[in-house]
Amino acid sequence: MADEGIMREVTLTLPIAADMEIAATKTATAMAESMDMAADKVDEVRMAVVEACINAFEHSHTEEGKIFLTFAVLGDDEAESLRITVRDSGQGFVPEDIVESKIGDKIHSESKRGWGLQIMRGMMDTVEIESGKDGTRVVMTKAR
């Protein structure tokens, strides 16, 4: 990744409000289509973006009331991958402490939740999370 240049980069700031993740999926779609990503892959990108946004909306408790996204087309001569960063300045969390969810444990248990990170990892090629007291940054990539 480090060798690849940023061919173009779009940033988006979203307010924490119902369904605002849809605006993020639209930008993701425009960027992915601009690099001719196949439709099924674009759809997976959208799903990952939704999950990253709703996590930041719901769990960050950021006082800014908004979250920050960056969409970068990476490549040298040709677009090679899309890198999406979703950042909040909220309370952060320890990603290593999050245990994998299993459907068998969820049935008849109080909380059915806890799928977002797994879905993001399933949809994207790479998902990296930096989180601390200044907030959380999720960096996800998917090759064209």
Binding site: D19, E21, M47, I103, I107, K112, R113
Partner: protein, 116 residues
Amino acid sequence: MTESLKLEIERRDGVAVVYTEGYINNLGGEEIARVADTLIKDGHKVLLLNLRGTKIVNSIGISILIEIIEKMIEIEGRLAFCNLTPTIEKTFHIMGLAQYAGIFADEPAALAELAN
């Protein structure tokens, strides 16, 4: 908001089919769970969710559908899905829903298996 979910219900060969149109987020998931509840109370034991009009979901919405699976286990009924986009199907596999609910390509395939 245009992102709200629309539901339509039809009864076919003893199967209650619920058609969804729109985003299955938390509100959408709750709406589906409510409708499923009513159908179960009405004595339906076989539910088919046809997601043909749903192109986008989120994990909060889908988590709520696990409640329907629980109820189905209790009444020894069956829950199935059809017309999933590839990404929604992948999501269901990641979440393991596919272990507790039938996933069919389309409605004829689902009814062939579920109806009696």
